[in-house]
Amino acid sequence: MMMQMVLRRIAIGFATLIVVSIIVFLATSILPGDVAQIILGQSATPETLAALRAELGMDLPAYMRYFAWLGNMASGDLGISKAGGATIASLIGGRFGNTMMMAGFVALISIPISIALGLWAAMHPGTWLDRSVTFCTLSLISVPEFFIATVLVLILAVELHWLPSTAYMTGDENFFQLMKALAMPLITLVIVVSAQMIRMTRAGILNVMNSPYIEMAILKGVPKGRIILRHAFFNAIGPIVNVIALNLAYLVSGVVIVETIFAYPGLAKLMIDGVQTRDLPLVQACAMIFCGTYVILILTADVASILSNPRLRQPK
């Protein structure tokens, strides 16, 4: 039963990827200018444009370029960057690692903190502790991340000189040096994603706390900690895992602002650069990675919530 569901979801995932690739292809084609115009920029002349288009295979009709790309993709060949001439695999390789490393570190720090703080706040609803957590998270959700990042840089790098202002990696640093280089973007992202997860955890648990079976447990005299950890938490896992999955997917695909401010070479910035240079194979490859990440994470979250909730395991 479970297996069938997973297989069906994987098939839907692939269909989603194809649809997304078509939409991205069309959207990129609608943008003014093509890769040849962008490469030559202000220096373009009709002759050099024509020569470059022929060299890049841009003189083929759009649908043929799409199917050529799809064929290569199916055989595992991501293609060559139209703008720079490097292979897409080499452009993506290092940045994929960087993005995963950053997302991994942020997840390792923020998920335990968020769940602990969320539970803690839910165990003491209405107290000054709960209120201050709620106040802080609400304020942090409302502040855009570039503001948090810029304030951190001003204080920690420009004024105090404690941390570097950019996440510049030389490639041969030890773990401590790496942590120092990544500290600023890590702190920023932990603040941004934790706030939302804390609120979701707290809300999820409090929601379950109003249900009759918890009331029953309270009447039976079960200790509060046990009620929350043993009875409420497992029923609240579904929404919590989903918000964690969405935040992780955001860490992979949506952190372009943080990557830009800290000059961190990650995938999100690469995709924006690809769009700016109309570098279709590059944009497509990034879109596939992001879309794939969403599909996998949301599937994982759904499986987790089904496993945690016996009612969902049986079809109606």
């Binding site: 962008i38 720079g84 420009v158 000189h161 490639g171 000059a263 070479p265």
Partner: protein, 543 residues
């Protein structure tokens, strides 16, 4: 504890070394910025130092600055633009980060000095025949590529011919179109056969894209330059090590790392925090922050970096001469330079040539002033009451300049609408397409080349479609003219033609504004691009 008042030397004996850190900083900055002796003395005397002491400090400070270059150390440079389209192929170089890498890895035939006279580089000698229809280049012997192979005329001819011909995708194809063909005439000699005579050819050959690569390659990081390429990740960074087998004295730095920080605030922060030693493109808003920070200097080089509004002459409203004149008179040029460019710029006179071009600049041409009455008169005469300008932030301050014109237009009852569009795709979709649009042009090495690309009849980038036959004649004949007085008269005639008749409004020129760490010495000041036109890698040293 020493009494810091009685311990001071008497003013007349005061030397550079006696100054406190802030004082040294002040003198260093002034000397390094190329302030004249008189200007530095004025600054110091304003702070209460006597004249004798001030001049003492100035001379000893100059000595301190003029130390012999030191070997060693490494720097990091952050450019304002980079991405997956970063190149190692010189014919496709389009941004400062490419130019800088080109300067570290490769060499050109000739090199620009600060005053833009061409200096021999890979060409030991270059001379034209009598009527400049042929140029002969003697190639330096004993020069090796990083892979060990020797440089010959074959490499030069191959590299230069990549800019010509139908298949060429070179970004400077149009600039080098006066050359018909490059020919090998010996193992270490080659000739440029000219389509049209060009006495300025060597100056043009000093630009960023003319780097010499190995025969049969597209560059690929194998050049004859002062640094070898250790690693290159497009859109991330590149690492360069000193080439110990360089054909001349060679670089002072051991290594250079070149990266990009696209966010202007982050770039300034990285400079001030010491993460980067050289950064390009400091925004006007950050001038004060950089100038007041410790350990860094704002490097502002006067240049003919053009801030322009193109009124296309082949369509309304630009085809109406009175509309264009109205647009020219409504520009509050003084205010643009003072307030928008924060003084780091110079007045434009609706020609692309500025005093940075040297003697070819026509200083006799009267400066057009802000005159709302004349503007009102011309707008009225044109019968046009509104127009739309397409504006993208193609250079710092250009949006503000157009908004200022909008306000001044509304005061005289003209409706100037501002249509803001993104820089992304601007050069293909808006520039040379929309009837009124903004433009920025980097400075070209000569007044003639600056005017030829933009105002030559039928030129590829004639961005106002202003075609003037007399202009076309002069652009050709000025290159063959050797008498300086006659040459200047021709230059003046061309600049006057553009000033009066073209569709180009040029209210101001911006300086090139970059930031460097205070311990960087020997910084070149070539005004053709950011950071001394990227000439620094071979020459700077760390104090």
């Amino acid at each position: 504890m020493k009494d810091k008042f009685t311990d001071k030397p008497t003013p007349e004996e005061l030397q550079y070394s006696d100054l406190d850190r802030a004082g040294k900083h002040l003198v260093d900055r002034a000397v390094r910025k190329g302030f004249s002796r008189r200007e530095v003395l004025k600054i110091m005397m304003a702070t209460g130092v006597t004249y004798a002491a001030a001049s003492n400090i100035f001379s000893s400070g100059q000595v301190a600055m003029a130390q012999t270059p030191k070997k060693g150390g490494s720097v990091r440079m952050a450019s304002n633009l980079h991405g997956p389209d970063d190149q190692l192929d010189p014919t496709l170089f389009t941004s400062t980060i490419d130019y800088t890498r080109g300067r570290t890895i490769y060499n050109s035939l000739v090199q620009h000095s600060n005053d833009l006279t061409p200096q021999p580089e890979l060409a030991e000698e270059f001379m034209p025949n009598g009527d400049a229809t042929e140029w002969t280049f003697k190639i330096r012997k004993g020069v090796n590529f990083h892979d060990g192979s020797p440089l010959t005329a074959d490499d030069v001819v191959y590299s230069m011919n990549r800019h010509l011909g139908e298949e060429s995708t070179s970004v400077i194809k149009a600039v080098l179109s006066s050359v018909k063909e490059w020919k090998k005439t010996g193992e270490h000699e080659c000739k440029a056969i000219m389509e049209t005579p060009n006495a300025d050819l060597p100056i043009v050959l000093g630009i960023f894209q003319t780097k010499i690569v190995k025969n049969g390659t597209t560059g690929e990081g194998n050049g004859t330059g002062p640094f070898t390429l250790e690693s290159f990740e497009p859109g991330v960074k590149s690492v360069h090590k000193r080439n110990e087998n360089y054909w001349r004295e060679g670089a002072n730095l051991d290594a250079i790392e070149i990266t990009g920080i696209t966010d202007p605030v982050a770039r300034v922060n990285a400079l001030i925090a010491g993460d980067m030693q050289l950064v390009t493109q400091i925004d006007g808003k950050a001038f004060r922050q950089v100038e007041s920070a410790d350990g860094v200097t704002l490097l502002s080089t006067p240049a003919a970096l053009q801030m322009g509004i193109c009124c296309l002459k082949n369509t309304l409203p630009g085809s109406n001469d009175d509309f264009v004149l109205g647009m020219k008179y409504i520009q509050d040029r003084e205010r643009i330079v003072e307030k928008i460019l924060k003084g780091k710029g110079s007045l434009g006179n609706d020609t692309p040539v500025s005093s940075a071009h040297g003697p070819d600049f026509c200083s006799e041409l009267p400066q057009r002033a802000f005159d709302p009455d004349k503007a009102k008169f011309h707008f009225k005469k044109s019968g046009i009451s509104s127009a739309e300008v397409f504006v993208a932030p193609v250079m710092s301050g250009i949006e503000d300049a157009v908004l200022l014109a909008q306000v001044n237009c509304s005061k005289i009852g003209f409706d100037l609408q501002v249509k803001k569009v993104p820089t992304d795709g601007y050069w293909g979709a808006v520039w040379m397409q929309e009837p009124v649009n903004v433009v920025s042009w980097n400075m070209r090495p000569t007044a003639q080349s600056q005017m030829a690309i933009q105002f030559g009849p039928g030129a590829a980038w004639n961005d106002t479609y202003w075609n003037n036959d007399r202009m076309g004649e002069l652009l050709v004949s000025v290159l063959a003219e050797t008498d300086p007085t006659k040459r200047h008269a021709m230059q003046c005639e061309m600049q006057t033609l553009i000033h009066e008749g073209s569709g180009m409004v040029i209210p101001a020129f911006s300086n090139i504004n970059d930031g460097i760490a205070d311990n960087i010495m020997g910084m070149p000041k070539v005004p053709l691009g950011q950071l001394g036109a990227c000439e620094w890698p071979e020459f700077i040293w760390l104090a």
